[in-house]
Assembly symmetry: C2
Homo-oligomer: 327 residues x 2
């Protein structure tokens, strides 16, 4: 998405996001997002040999934490910017999140979706009142369509993760979790593009520096782990995982934060993800999407130093096709 940077993307001019930005995001989005609950299970604690606190972002508006970042970005626009409308390209939760945020601000949203997006995802974006622009599958076509929308409408581009406003919004989930559960030893998030992880790390390491921040990702989309270990940003060329929210690669922006502040990134197999997802469905009775199960999978496989600890796990989303469950 770097090609779009010059058009409309906003960053903080080099100053790292601080707690004040995250607190401002919390105040800004409060009328529009849920303070999601935290669930626990003795059975899962016993399986994990740890005390687990599940932050239920699958119960967030549009069923994913992405509602936080999208609302913070949209409500950060000044009136003149907002009047131009917003646009993004996404086939996933960010598309719905931006559509909702635009509706809540009373502005137009143009969402570029690949022509092979699933019917439920298209229906959700339509229901939320966004204009859909279909394009060929593939990142090049998506970016080209997005640029066409921008030049035609003047809409402001809101990336799904490579944006300080979005990252500050995603950080509010970890901030809430730290309020809801005292004395956490660690927080674990899934990592795809790194918006949730980098936001969580920025918040935790400034507000609760003794709390560790971990991430987990699928073997079939392990660019974050490879980047973290090598110290050099690695792109994911052909991601292949059931965790369809984690297909994207880190950006320079999210990688810089992750390199500086994250304590470790674990990798899990597809079968580990499916097993963890099944446990959350059967024991927590929560319908989460595969991407939301990778953090628990890493704990259950002993890939992170969580034994005996109080561990917050962000269940990132719950938008799953009930016709295509992996069991």
């Amino acid at each position: 998405m770097q090609v779009l940077t010059g058009v409309s993307q906003r960053d903080s001019g080099g100053a790292p996001l601080g707690l004040a930005d995250i607190q401002a995001a919390r105040a800004r989005i409060r009328p529009f997002v849920h303070r999601t609950p935290v669930l626990q299970s003795r059975t899962l604690d016993a399986l994990a040999s740890a005390e687990l606190f599940f932050k239920c972002e699958h119960l967030q508006r549009i069923g994913a934490f992405k509602a936080r970042g999208a609302h913070n970005a949209v409500f950060s626009l000044n009136d003149a910017e907002a009047a131009r409308g917003v646009t993004t390209h996404s086939s996933g939760n960010h598309a719905a999140a931006l559509s909702l945020a635009a509706r809540n601000r009373g502005i137009s949203a143009h969402v570029v979706m690949p022509s092979n997006a699933t019917a439920p995802k298209i229906a959700t974006v339509k229901r939320l009142g966004a204009q859909i622009v279909f394009c060929s599958p593939g990142n090049d076509a998506r970016e080209r369509s997005c640029r066409e929308v921008i030049s035609r409408t003047g809409a402001i581009y809101i990336p799904s993760y490579d944006d300080d406003r979005v990252i500050a919004g995603q950080a509010t989930a970890a901030a809430e979790l730290c309020e809801q559960v005292a004395d956490l030893d660690a927080i674990i998030t899934p990592v795809g593009g790194g918006g949730l992880l980098s936001g969580s790390a920025l918040y935790v390491k400034q507000a609760h520096p003794k709390v560790q921040v971990f991430a987990a990702e699928p073997e079939g989309a392990d660019d974050a782990s490879r980047s973290y270990r090598s110290g050099v940003l690695q792109k994911q060329l052909a991601p292949n995982t059931i965790a369809d929210g984690l297909l994207t690669s880190l950006s320079e922006r999210t990688f810089a934060i992750i390199k500086a502040h994250v304590d470790d990134i674990a990798v899990v197999s597809e079968s580990d993800i499916i097993e963890a997802m099944r446990l959350v469905w059967t024991i927590l009775k929560q319908a989460i999407e595969p991407s939301a199960a990778v953090a628990l999978a890493a704990v259950l496989r002993g890939r992170l130093p969580t034994a005996g600890k109080r561990v917050g796990i962000i269940l990132s989303g719950g938008n799953v096709d009930l016709e295509k469950l992996p069991w």
Copy 2:
């Protein structure tokens, strides 16, 4: 189960259960059961043209409200009775609930299960430390096996619903809901044997007499509706429904309470149940069992006078076989 009445069943000697009994049950079971959360969804409210409050008993211990009644019954026993252990016949949630309650009291539980009970249900009861006695399928064989257990071990029989202690325990879910949500206009529960419904009605009509109490049940197990409308207890001879928690018929005890205190009982089709279940999974992101979906199904089909009202719906359980989902 009437044949077992003389052996061990307890009733209140003719005095109807009062609020004091239900408050005593709350105090008795408090250390062992969850105060389950209440969820709302704007999307479901819009579909229902009502304000819906979902009481999440699928998040209760053992994944069903049955934990309440079983704990109240087991912790109502005096020490001499408790030392004899407890028994029941059940292939469902009551089996797990009684096993957990017995474990929490530190006494033995003997659970009669039909030989065709599913592997997950058998595994749950075993995990909770109960002794399993297998019998042939069918109510006669189950009752015979239960009598054999009683004569062999002296165990106290704890029915799944035809028992005042159990009913008082189940009533605590509605009591909590009325505390959690002010000014409800109505509460709806599913009805099988009638323990949850009769307990809810007893509580609500004594504590909040202006609140209406409704029930819903499947067309394929509509004995409660037929009994309610005819005024004469009707048995369900060949129940046939996906809602496997609602196969049982009312007893004289539960029917008397329901006849006196329940405002209406709606009947819904199998496809209505499946559609409501799917909506709860996709919108509330809650993995509920089919039995827990009948109340919402009745609302969505307009079978109860809920339009514009504040309506509490008890999501009764979440123990569902992920391999055998109805879609």
